[in-house]
């Protein structure tokens, strides 16, 4: 192999193997606005209070959309509670390697009321996507899914 060929192969290899370059902080969209920070538990306790204003939440990333990185779930300050951060496909792409990192997300809270059948379908789908065991009969009440549609997200290591 000539010198030129070796150089081309090395350049292409280095470009395409640049995966997961470590960054201390990653911003998506405008980045999070730290001024409007609210606890996830407070939001989920009284969601109507937070409906019409921009709010920023903070939490460890505990689930990420495997297909398109279009949503992630942040752990609440309370046990067993999470809040979903959802974007339109491709607007922001949350990497699976961000699991466990701390995220700040700023945006408007949305409420998606589901009936019982939709609740079962929604919970079954999310469990299947995460390869988790799920008993559809354990869902006995309709749920309302709360999520934030973010304008900015900051992920810290």
């Amino acid at each position: 192999m000539s010198g030129l060929k070796i150089i081309i192969v090395m350049i292409l290899s280095s470009i395409f193997s640049l995966t997961n370059t470590a960054h201390a902080e990653q911003n998506y969209g405008k980045g999070a606005d730290m001024k409007h920070l609210a606890e996830i538990s407070a939001i989920l306790a009284s969601p109507t209070k937070f409906m019409d204003t921009d709010v920023t939440v903070k939490g460890a990333i505990v689930k990420v959309c495997k297909k398109r990185g279009c949503w992630m779930e942040l752990a609440s300050d309370k046990k067993f509670q999470t809040l979903r951060i959802k974007v339109r496909d491709g607007d922001m792409v949350f990497p699976m390697t961000s699991l466990g990192k701390t995220a700040y997300a700023t945006g408007k809270l949305q409420a998606l009321p589901l009936d019982l059948a939709q609740s079962k379908k929604y919970l079954a789908y999310t469990a299947q996507e995460q390869q988790e065991e799920f008993d559809v009969n354990s869902v006995t009440e309709a749920i309302t899914v709360y999520q934030i549609s973010p304008t900015g997200v900051t992920i810290n290591d």
Partner: protein
């Protein structure tokens, strides 16, 4: 005296050289296209390996101060825990700095270890194909698309005579339009 341009030869030469230029991105988009086409069957960006370990009396051990380093040692894992989360009363998750998730089931005394690794090359191919790069890449890929249109149209005039577009081989061009049209007719309506 102006030299006559040989359009046939010019077209062939341009088709050849633009074709050479398009080889790289065509392969990237084609490989990524196959990978993304089957997104319901596999994860085109990450390889997630999963192993299950039985740990006795984990419900008691989980409350001990040194539980996390003890568990990492028990599973022969290096690194440290960066986040922890009680998902349900029986499921506790630990996230390590090495892209590992430990799903601890205190009812079953099991730990499922998930290791997430980005797929070599393919993740970057998908990044380009889905235009996650945005900015200048949008315009570069538009330019590439224009080149592909040129390659398709110029291909119609590459060969003259018995094997040209006006021969029975022109039916192949018609088939190229009819097959996608048939899929639209069958599946979209």
């Amino acid at each position: 005296m102006a030299k006559n341009i040989n359009w046939f030869r010019l077209n062939r030469n341009l088709h050849r050289d633009i074709g050479y230029f398009c080889v790289g991105l065509t392969l990237i988009f084609a490989i990524s296209g196959i990978a993304l086409n089957h997104v319901n069957d596999w994860d085109p960006n990450y390889q997630v390996t999963q192993t299950e370990h039985a740990i006795s009396n984990i419900a008691k051990k989980i409350n001990q101060d040194n539980f996390e380093p003890w568990l990492l040692k028990e599973l022969s894992l290096s690194g440290t825990v960066k986040a922890r989360f009680w998902q349900t009363p029986t499921t506790y998750k630990l996230f390590t700095k090495n892209n590992q998730t430990l799903i601890i089931n205190v009812a079953k005394n099991t730990v499922v270890l998930q290791q997430i690794s980005p797929r070599f090359l393919l993740k970057n191919f998908n990044f380009l194909h889905l235009n996650d790069a945005r900015s200048a890449w949008t315009y570069y890929s538009d330019f590439y698309a224009a080149l592909l249109i040129y390659l398709a149209l110029s291909a119609l005039f590459m060969v003259k005579g018995k094997k040209g577009i006006k021969s029975s081989r022109g039916l192949l061009v018609v088939a190229g339009f009819l097959i996608p049209a048939a899929f639209v007719f069958i599946y979209a309506y």
